[in-house]
Amino acid sequence: MTKFPTPSIDWGALSPELILLGGATLCLLVPLFLPHGWRRHFCAFVSILSFLGAGAAAIALFQMDDTGTAIVADAVRRDRLAELAQVMIAGSGLLTVGVSYAYVLRERMGEYYSLLLTAAAGMCFFVAANDLMTMFLGLEWFSISLYILCAIAIEEVASLEAGLKYLIVGSFGSAILLFGSAFVYGATGVIGFEDIAAASEDGDQLFLVTGLAMIIVGLGFKASAAPFHMWTPDVYQGAPTPVTAFMSAATKIAALVLTMRLLVTAFPSQENLWTISLAVIVCISLAWGNLGALVQTDVKRMLAYSSISHAGFLLMPIAVGTPLGGRALMYYLISYAAMSIGSFAIVAARERELARPVTLEGMAGMGWERPGMGAAMTLFMFGFIGLPPAGLFIGKFYAFSAAVDRGWAWLAVVGAIATVVSIYYYLGVVRAMYFQPAIRVAPAGGSPPRELALGTSVLLAVVVTIGTFIGAQPLLDIATDSVSFLPFPH
């Protein structure tokens, strides 16, 4: 009987995932033995510690790794790109805990936090994927966690509907991705990213290109890039707001980082195909996201369309396929993630005040009632447009620079026009908050609740947003380091 060879496992490199999974286990089991009142505090506390621990582990790995190595039988990549993405995912999770803290889930507190941690662990695994198998495994790992998270408010029809829609459309996307992977395997006979690159010359080009196209579609679903975005508005609107906040930031980070890694590492010889097709996806996302957002009155739905348009902006630097583009992507993601969670956090705060979904009219007068929240939301909205002093300004500047540098000035012009369109709906929020007379909020128990945890998350998001603007240089250095070893085609 032949002995099945077990690969040597670099446990240290997997520590972010392991810490998060450990936290998830604690959140699931320990609250069973705790009195009701303690469960929420315990779970939130464990989640914060886990996210901090995972982030610290990823930072430590980032410090240690100068060059990337493939570990666990070449299935997982240990490199700075993955580690930087893991830091961002852990940071997103940390901010999400603050948003979630006051979210009322009577019986399912433990499940909520453990799924949040599991989803984050899945994303951390996904961004480090080094072959088609781990890629699919990671994708399903975090997707399934997110399906349940979307539907976790089972008393609300909207939440159930969001979960179901996400499940069906998401599975469809996963299936396409898997099918595409099978084609690529069929064409090349290998699943490792570098092996595919090496074997692609001899492989069947028709199968290979078909597989590549299907993989791009599958990843486009997760990144909610148009025309694969159909689920996004419904799911973002229906899912509990803290979950939406987490998805809007962390899923984007995971999907886009892996898209860049996969395309650059595995398909350098098909570069002429995927760069231009991504550019087309960029244009469609920018057009569809911005035009769709114009007519929304529900703030969450509007932010969902905005996230589609930002998928376009984020794919722009990947599409150009240059080191400058890689740097732009990683830098853009940092400030985008913070601003996205911050803005959904403010929506969550308003939602709890009004006890109903937040429409633009529902935001009326908020700027004067809650000056801190109003100022933060104004910063985020101006920032999403790409105005200083938000780090996204520099992100957009880099994304456009990458396009111009590649000789695709037209793509930057498309981005500029899309930005002009976006002014209307982003400023619609500011207009509602400050220019319109306040609606009479009459909460049952007196003044609206002031949530320390949520406020802290918003404050952290503001700090990151402005910090990325002022301290651009060190972050750009980190972003440069994280992509320095990727074999960019240009």
């Binding site: 101006f382 300004f393 520099i394 620079s401 000035a409 002009v420 220019f435 240089q473």
Partner: protein, 483 residues
């Protein structure tokens, strides 16, 4: 050092006014006013110690911001930018004082936003890095949007969205141009970027400047915005912010794209001449005070553009003098319009009239400003317009004739405004309860008019102290194409 101080003192002051929980609105307003006065003192001190003999950059400061693309925090002042900074500081101080005396709702927030705007505008005039210039340029828009949207008139919703979409549509094209120019030059440092002959890059910049100035036909946002703004904000908008655009044409358009400017002179001059005549005619037909000032502002800005695109000593010097003069004139006029509107509750010229009787200070201030605005010989506006027309004459006598016609039109609309407000029979909206200017208003408007009078006596204060203060032939040499 001084430059950074001039930029960040108002911005820090704004944060200070916003964050401190002031006991009363007056206290918050007083703090804002003190910050503005301190800024004014710093600028005066700087202007007195400036080396006008040197054409180079002074008081520069530079720190790397992100090095891989060569972007830095680089600021500094040329002698001509010093005057525009001075205009910003004087007009903003007047606006803040006016807002303080008249008492606005949420005074701290309001005056803080004006301070923030001041810092951003000074930044535009001082930035010596293209991206930094763009950052300050966009930073001007954020406070303006909120100022008009919250404290504006009844039609503010439509006005703000028009204003923002117009401005940002122009400035985002400028962003693409900033990137293209910076990447092709390998640096974003404005003192190191050489000349470029790319028409597209020039047009991207020109789009932003043409909207902001505005040049005809990019002025669609202007009438609504000037009508719906609070008078202080309208004063700053037409007095100062529009000058950022003409400064952009001077500092970026003429310096980096001399060959393209040469090619595009005729189209730009055609548009600007149409704008000059069109604005003047509309000012003559406008039904309200603000309309007259708004359209006269449009006309004047187009005249300044004509002076710049002459690209010779006389034209550029005249344009600079006219920028400062018009800034002071239109700021004074908008503040006076605010004073009239406060008394009559309307700016409609049909309902006004006869306000001179029993209101000598108001009448004197309005007539003095109006007479300077219509460029009566001996006024600084006359000096500026003469230099501009003299400059453009060398490019073709037709342009100068059109300009001279516009000066006649200016006399017509200004005298119409003066007579409709001050003379004739008292209008239905003018009651005896409408008093003369109060001491608080006098303390704001009289100094502005005094500065204008001083400039009229001594326009050489600016023309001899700009562009290195050197004799004939050296101004334009800084802006000529290298063969």
């Amino acid at each position: 050092m001084f430059t950074s101080l001039l930029i960040f003192l108002p911005i820090a002051g704004a944060l200070f006014v916003w964050i401190v929980p002031w006991p009363t609105a007056r206290a918050a307003g007083g703090a804002a006013l003190l910050v503005a006065l301190a800024e004014l003192v710093i600028w005066v001190n700087r202007a007195l110690n400036f080396d006008y003999a040197s054409a180079g950059l002074q008081d520069e400061a530079s720190h790397s911001w992100f090095s891989d693309l060569g972007v830095s925090y680089a600021v500094g002042l040329y002698d001509f930018s010093l005057w525009l900074v001075g205009l910003t500081v004087v007009v903003t101080t007047a606006a803040i004082a006016y807002g303080f005396w008249t008492g606005r709702e949420r005074m701290g927030v309001y005056l803080g936003l004006l301070l923030f705007l001041e810092g951003a505008t000074v930044g535009v005039f001082a930035a010596q890095d293209l991206l930094l210039f763009y950052v300050f340029w966009e930073a001007m828009m954020i406070p303006l949007y909120i100022l008009i949207g919250v404290w504006g008139g009844a039609g503010r919703m439509g006005a703000t969205i028009k204003f923002v979409v117009y401005t940002l549509a122009g400035s985002l094209l400028m962003l693409v141009s900033v990137i293209a120019l910076g990447l092709s030059a390998g640096t974003f440092d404005m003192t190191e970027i050489g000349q470029s002959d790319s028409t597209w890059i020039f047009l991207g910049f020109a789009a932003a400047f043409a909207v902001k100035a505005p040049i005809w036909p990019f002025h669609g946002w202007l009438p609504d915005t000037y009508r719906e703004s609070p008078p202080e904000v309208a004063a700053i908008l037409s007095g100062v912010i529009s000058k950022a655009a003409t400064y952009g044409f001077l500092r970026i358009g003429l310096v980096f794209f001399p060959a393209v400017v040469d090619d595009w002179r005729t189209p730009v001059l055609v548009l600007a001449t149409i704008g000059l005549i069109y604005g003047s005619l509309l000012a003559f037909r406008a039904p309200d005070i603000r309309g007259v000032i708004a359209y006269s502002s449009l006309a004047q800005m187009n005249l300044i553009v004509i002076g710049l695109f002459a690209v010779n000593d006389s034209g550029i010097s005249g344009a600079l003098l006219q920028m400062v003069t018009h800034g002071l004139v239109s700021a004074s006029l908008f503040l006076l319009a605010g004073a009239v509107e406060r008394r009559a509750a309307t700016g409609n010229l049909v309902l006004l009239g006869g306000m001179a009787r029993g209101r000598p200070v108001l009448a004197t201030a309005l007539i003095t400003t109006g007479v300077i605005a219509l460029a009566v010989p001996g006024s600084s506006a006359f000096a500026g317009e003469f230099l501009i027309l003299n400059g453009i004459f060398t490019r073709g006598w037709g342009w100068a004739v059109a300009g001279a016609v516009a000066i006649v039109l200016a006399a017509m609309y200004m005298l119409r405004l003066i007579s409709a407000v001050l003379h004739k029979d008292p209008g239905s909206a003018v009651t005896d309860a409408a008093l003369d200017l109060r001491p608080a208003e006098i303390s704001v408007i009289v100094p502005l008019v005094a500065v204008l009078l001083a400039l009229s006596f001594w326009p050489a204060a600016i023309t001899d102290h700009a562009f290195g203060g050197k004799p004939e032939g050296t101004v334009s040499s800084q802006f000529e194409a290298t063969p």
